[in-house]
Symmetry: C2
Subunit: 155 residues, 2 copies
DNA sequence: TTGATAATGATAATCATTTTCAATTAAGGA
DNA sequence: TCCTTAATTGAAAATGATTATCATTATCAA
């Protein structure tokens, strides 16, 4: 596992405790993997990565913990159309910060972008206000994705 | 099935033929169901609806045809986080026109909206231009969804 | 150190979606 | 209308991701 395992476990400890959860090796390891990749990983990807260091942590545990981490808002789950979910640290806990995705319909490559966020914010502020009012719907999150063909698939 | 089966089959015929596909009872029926609902239906929903009129059309056929209809752009497939895909006539072939969705995280109710499309268009034009240029990515579609809590789940 | 209980792992079960393959059918020309 | 042929279909089995079970283990506040 990477260098900053210790730090991670520390700042997470609080978050976990106040939700009635315990800090375990598996959770530490999952967060570590996610904190040290720029990719969007499947449950199995994470399982395999962890398996090298902790061969006794099972795929089931990875699934269970990912669900929990998604619930408390530390991890985000995505469906890019591949037939299995991909996970990533949520904006607030990631170096990436708030961002969205370009998804290649051909090879499923995913590109993070955080350009034009000023425009987005502007658009969302107005739209979210209007929608939540009109439909009496309390908006919590938004999902924005662009689908198309990536550079290498175009050649 | 509903009244306008005949019309549907007619305007579709052309689209199918020029793609090398044939017009079959199953396809006619699927389009009929989709054209006459405001809901977002799962493959099984569609299968069950068809089954009343054509008890010999199987779920497999529904899946196969939905995939084909998605490929030629007549139907759109959505993942609202429920664990199974939902289908809807694509904007161009639906009375709804271009729209997006509010999805309740609690009960998975889906609300169609087509408000603030002027703002959206404005935002997208600029953003899509910038992104496709910067990442050398040919944008084909966009997905915008708002997640939150619906009126009845809030009570 | 200990007790209550959260968490785990191996396994089996679910469940949506696909694959297989032999039988059927749509469509265009004779 | 009749034929030919390739597209389409249905039943059944297979796949593959995710979840449920349950006995065992680990965490952590007291
Ligand atoms: Mn990302
Ligand atoms: Mn819709
Ligand atoms: Zn690609
Ligand atoms: Zn709801």
């Amino acid at each position: 596992m990477k260098k900053n395992s210790k730090q991670n476990s520390r700042w997470m400890h609080g978050k976990f405790k106040c939700n009635g959860y315990r800090m375990t090796k598996a959770r530490e390891a999952i967060l570590d993997i996610l904190a040290n990749t720029k990719d969007h990983l499947s449950a199995e990807d994470i399982y395999l990565a962890i398996h090298k260091f902790y061969p006794n942590i099972g795929l089931t545990t990875v699934y269970r913990n990912l669900e929990m981490l998604v619930n408390i808002g530390i991890v985000v789950k995505f469906d890019f159309g591949e037939g299995r979910s991909k996970y990533e640290l949520s904006d607030h806990y990631s170096e990436k910060g708030h961002h969205h995705h370009l998804v290649c319909k051909e090879c499923y490559k995913v590109i993070d972008y955080s350009d034009f966020m000023k425009d987005e914010l502007n658009f969302l502020k107005n739209t979210e206000n209007g929608l939540s009012q009109k439909y009496n719907f309390e908006i919590r999150d938004h999902l924005i994705q662009f689908f198309g063909i990536c550079e290498s698939c175009r050649k």
